[in-house]
Point group: C2
Chain length 318, copies 2
């Protein structure tokens, strides 16, 4: 397999694009694709204050690298979730993010949720009803809340995340299997700041496959946390990714087509305008002031409202 641009030995073959590229041309191609997404979906300009959620993994560190290459100024935000899982997960992930930031002379904000809210993700998982059997639900809620809060209170106009196409397709697939209308209609490369207290969120990697991001990190020599989160093993999102990978291996481009045809159908008016009219019932949480559709406190603040709530297993102890 040879690079279609120069004939050198190809480093990667992207069957969905019928495109094989050598390392050199692949490392040009990826930032071009990201720039195209930024422009196509009107994500942000070089004049805006940008905050990137950095996990220490390949996607977010590669995205930071790409954005620098493209001439954007971006600060990073690492959320210290306090996950050990026998592999010192959070501490090691933070270290990868720190090293990258230092080497590139970048600002990295670190928010430690134990310090800020008194509990780590494993502790919240053990204590709360939401957490029972579902650490990913507690973690997702926490990250969304903290990312938004830091972005808004620090005057960033756009929050960037490293979600790649595999992430986006798996989320869409899950929401479509159960036809959760309000989630389906809001999915996309850009989530507008259309509610008071809510920042703008964008996903510049939404058209790039996970394997492309892994190849980019490898070829750029970016050191990143390779272990999956120990809590994510057996999660629904990983299951859907595997199913979509099966589909992709049988029909090249199936994942990309699933996501892009969804965006096209949305632009073509497939969905009713009424689905997302929850906005009318949205109000600011009395505690944190982030928008919520729940009566009273938002789901995040409710998680901390009753600190004496114990997990079922603890309650059963004599």
């Amino acid at each position: 397999m040879h690079c279609v641009k120069c004939g050198e030995k190809a480093a990667i073959n992207m069957r969905q694009h019928k495109l094989a590229l050598c390392p050199h041309h692949f490392l040009d191609w990826i930032p071009e694709q990201v720039e195209r997404s930024i422009k196509r979906y009107h994500m942000f300009t070089k004049e805006e204050r940008l905050l990137l959620a950095v996990s220490g993994g390949k996607d977010s560190l590669s995205l930071w690298d790409i954005l620098l290459h493209l001439g954007y100024t971006v600060d990073g935000l690492y959320i210290e979730l306090g996950i050990d899982g026998g592999i010192d997960y959070s501490a090691r992930s933070l270290e990868y993010a720190r090293v990258f930031a230092q080497e590139h002379n970048l600002n990295l904000l670190v928010q430690d949720i134990r310090h800020e809210y008194g509990e780590t993700i494993p502790e919240l998982t053990a204590r709360t009803h939401r957490g029972r059997y579902k650490p990913c639900s507690v973690c997702g809620l926490t990250k969304r809340h903290v990312m938004n809060q830091i972005a808004v209170t620090n005057g960033y106009t756009v929050l960037l995340t490293g979600h790649n196409l595999d992430d986006e397709a798996a989320i869409l697939f899950g929401n479509t299997l159960s036809w959760v209308g309000s989630y389906i209609v809001r999915q996309g490369p850009v989530l507008e700041a259309d509610r008071t207290g809510l920042g703008r969120k964008v996903k510049p990697l939404c058209r790039l496959y996970e394997r492309e991001m892994a190849a980019y990190a490898l070829l750029r020599g970016i050191a990143y946390m390779e272990d999956e989160c120990p809590f994510a093993v057996g999660s629904t999102s990983i299951y859907y990714k595997e199913l979509l990978n099966k589909l992709e291996s049988d029909r090249s481009g199936a994942k990309l087509s699933f996501y892009l045809s969804f965006l096209q159908a949305k632009r073509n008016g497939l969905f009713s305008d009424k689905v997302d009219d929850r906005a009318e019932q949205i109000h600011p949480c009395p505690k944190c002031e982030q928008p919520t559709s729940a009566p009273g406190l938002c789901a995040f603040c409710r998680m901390f409202a009753n600190p004496d709530e114990q997990s079922q297993s603890l309650q059963l102890e004599p």
Copy 2:
């Protein structure tokens, strides 16, 4: 595993319903479910003239059997497609349909497409552009056209098909993977006769799994064509069924939930009313008078409009 109703040895365990039943109670349960679907989706009454599309397979023959059991009067329609495939497919399928009709003293209409239109499905597949690599496309178009034409011209108010949940879920899955809005919004247990020349179509088995229909046919001793259509091997619809079966085996009820939550989302107004406004551009085909959105002849009549069209392989011959 024991029957939840009488404690006898169960013949089938339906994990998605947490329901195990013995043969006796299963054979009661299936018609009850069909009757519930007929009522729930307002499919038809006992006073209407009903025509059932019969393929000779387990679904359509079992549905005929169930409808008799429930006291409906239903005529059958067999479409002779002229498929041999080395296993005498169409002729044997017709024989199963004929035997069932004779044994139960039922009317079976037979429409032979070679006799009526001059060509079999394999011949149409070989000759037409649509047919190239896609016999299922030619066959589906033909069956839809012929079923509708026979139902409308013979004064049947409702056309019934034996589509089961696996069929419906696979169709929905395919349409969702490519987000074909106009197909998605029209899918459901009932397709209304909302256009001149179009009969009402209903699918009374839409909530029943394929394995349940196979069990019903077996336990009722219904002789049916067990071979798949030789053209369907490797087809997209079978591929999607396999993928959904993988999902179902990992998560019981996933198929049913996918289909029912879609119907619920549709009722809840997820889709825009505008998607299906093709109706405005619909006109009767100048030849067959069935509704079409194509300019000029409908797709079916177009297939016969140019009988000199040759398949690519024939054209390439010296």
